[in-house]
Amino acid sequence: MRSFRVPENIPIWFFVGVLLAVYGALIGGHGVYGWVTHRRDAVVLAGLRAPMWWGGILLILGLIYCVKFFPWGPTLRQDTTGKH
């Protein structure tokens, strides 16, 4: 059975990516739900659907950072192959 260890030296940019991606998914998801169900938040300029596109931007940026800075270090590779 594979064991999991948190890899060493995770770059801060990976954490940034995770946080932006999570926020993008949460906020963008809310925006898409509102767009699909034609519900508008009780704010000014609600018709611009800011949660949808702002959440989308955060999600895309977050995913880019997650992939680019994913900690492909030796510790992780060894762990995921079950050698540790």
């Binding site: 948190v6 954490f15 946080l19 932006l20 926020y23 949460l26 906020i27 938040d41 704010v43 800011a50």
Partner: protein
């Protein structure tokens, strides 16, 4: 942190008023949905995870106090700016922009950029080459133990009290905006900071500051974008401001600063240029250990020099998320009946005028940000508060351990002992900060003095450091006397104006001067006194041999050779771009 755009300007300037936010007459400004709460919870989970994750990499003093000196220029640069973007930065300066217009931008541009470049290009080599752990540590090397101890105690007291002020400020903001219990806010934020700084040391503080910097932009950037959309663009916003507030100039940086009475801030361009742009700005950005510590953590000299330059780009951009919302508030905020909403000073809040200047940013957030986005905006505010608090506490732990505990209590101990002391100092710093927060809560009048405390040390310290770094003849006695008398003169000027308000006209050289001008000129005078005393005493005392000044003084120090790099990686190339942008922005908004 507690020192928004600049140290002294804020020390008793308009932004500090945020902490005096009155009990909400209008009920809380915003209501959080489960989605907002999830966004806030994710943030707290992330910062705590980072603290636990980095705890194993903070076992030596170099790792705990200087993050192993392995930060890249980008990380050190963003952390450098983020540590400064603390407590009252976002809300306070947005309120100032509503009150004074674009003049508030001076605290971001001339009040920061030249000093940041000077730190990176000129001063950083000395800090870095001397391998000091702290700014008081540099004073010890240059001027001896007495100067170090004076600076260390001043700084430690200042950090703790300011941390408490920040903590209380955040709690009050959360109460006004969200209706949260003050004790809950204080305990929640301080516990999180204690855990992640205590476990991971400076590295954890820096990692979280980078994260918080990104969050601040992600949460706050949408407000000015949507505000400009609603206002119809920049030109229409300017036209509406001119129409709504005839006779007052909100959109020029320099045009109306030839006379104290010609601008709403009551300042003169000489005060802005010499008081703010030189003494206060250089004092804060080049000698305040809170920010310098971030740059000392860079992995090599070039990265340490690049970090403030990278930070300066972002610093120049901050007015977009802080000043612009304040200006937009002048145009778009309305009462329920559609009339223009007028925000007032804290002491003028009433049923008829329920909102103060300092609420402009939350009001703008509530106006545009729905579920999720509002949570992100609130998280941005909390991130700002926590990054400032973490900056205070991590800087305190370092100065306490290296500049107070080690020289005065236990000179020689294993490295691991000092790391343990640093961890306990972090906890102690947080606990005392909580005490300071409650002290402020129960004696609001003390706030003015606590804020001013910050301003007492910066200008004299700048005088001592500049002469120490660039004048070989400066002696230990000169440095100590200059620092001490500079501090005493600043305190005296402050108390003089408090006891006799008419003295302001003498301190600021004009009967039309307002409190902001007092800060600028008080700093200028204390700096000049510090310089004069240091020079006179140095000339009367025996100088140190040149050989002892290697690594400490310009002209005696052989700077380390830096490998040539392509022009686009050279710090001077990017500094020139910053200068061009800085000049262009000032001309554009002249």
């Amino acid at each position: 942190m507690m020192v928004p755009a600049n140290a002294i300007g804020i020390a008793s300037g308009p932004s500090t008023l945020a902490v005096f936010l009155p009990p909400p007459l209008h009920g809380q400004l915003a209501h959080l949905t489960p989605l907002d709460i999830a966004v806030i919870a994710v943030y707290f989970a992330m910062v705590l995870f980072i603290g636990f994750y980095l705890r194993h990499g903070s076992n030596t003093s170099e790792q705990f106090f200087l993050a192993g000196r392995e930060m890249t220029a980008w990380i050190a640069g963003l952390s450098f700016v983020s540590a400064n973007m603390g407590a009252l930065e976002l809300m306070g300066w947005a309120g100032s922009a509503y009150q004074y217009g674009i003049l508030a931008t001076h605290w971001y541009w001339i009040g920061a950029i030249p000093a940041m470049l000077f730190l990176g290009l000129v001063m950083m080599p000395f800090y870095y080459v001397s391998k000091t752990h702290s700014v008081p540590g540099y004073l010890k090397l240059r001027f001896g133990e007495s100067s170090r101890i004076l600076a260390a105690f001043s700084f430690a007291i200042e950090m703790i009290l300011m941390s408490g002020v920040n903590m209380f400020s955040m709690a009050v903001v959360m109460k006004v905006v969200l209706g949260w219990n003050i004790t809950f806010s204080i305990l929640m934020s301080s516990l999180a900071v204690a855990v992640y700084v205590g476990l991971g040391g400076l590295r954890s503080a820096i990692y979280n500051e980078v994260l918080q910097f990104v969050l601040i932009w992600a949460g706050a950037l949408l407000v000015p974008i949507l505000g400009l959309v609603e206002a119809g663009g920049w030109d229409k916003m300017v036209a509406k401001i001119a129409s709504n507030y005839q006779g007052q100039d909100y959109i020029h940086l320099w045009r109306d600063t030839a006379h104290f009475s010609a601008n709403p801030m009551g300042v003169h361009w000489t005060g802005i240029v010499f008081g703010l742009g030189f003494v206060i700005s250089f004092g804060y950005w080049t000698t305040d250990f809170l920010v310098v510590q971030r740059v000392l953590a860079a992995r090599n000299l070039r990265a340490a020099q690049m970090a403030p330059i990278i930070g300066s780009f972002f610093k120049m951009a901050v007015p977009f998320i802080v000043i612009l919302p304040g200006l937009l508030g002048l145009v778009v905020l309305q009462n329920p009946d559609g009339t223009l909403l007028h925000l007032v000073g804290e002491n003028q809040v009433s049923v008829a005028n329920p909102h103060s200047f300092n609420e402009v940013l939350p009001l703008m957030m509530v106006r545009y940000l729905g579920p999720g986005l509002l949570g992100l905006g609130i998280t941005a505010l909390m991130a700002g508060f926590m990054s400032g608090m973490a900056g205070n506490v991590s800087a305190f732990a370092t100065v306490w351990t290296y500049d107070i505990y080690q020289p005065l209590i236990r000179k020689r101990a294993p490295d691991i002992h000092y790391v343990a002391i640093g961890r306990w100092a972090t906890v102690l710093g947080v606990v005392v900060s909580i005490g300071a927060a409650y002290l402020v809560m129960h004696a609001a009048g003390i706030m003015d003095y606590v804020q001013a405390l910050f301003s007492f040390f910066i200008a004299p310290l700048l005088g001592a450091i500049l002469l120490g770094m660039f004048w070989k003849r400066a002696t230990s006695a000169g440095g100590f006397c200059g620092l001490l008398l500079g501090i005493l003169s600043s305190v005296s000027l402050f108390l003089w104006v408090r006891m006799d308000p008419s003295a302001l006209s003498m301190v600021a050289l004009s009967p039309d001067a307002k409190s902001m001008a007092e800060n600028l000129y008080r700093a200028l005078w204390s700096f000049l006194i510090s310089i004069a005393v240091t020079v006179v005493v140095s000339l009367l005392t025996q100088p140190r041999p040149m050989a002892e000044l290697d690594g400490l003084v310009y002209g005696v120090t052989k700077l380390p050779f830096q490998e040539p790099v392509p022009f686009y990686r050279n710090q001077w190339f990017w500094a020139v771009i910053v200068v061009v942008l800085f000049a262009g922005l000032n001309i554009l908004f002249w």
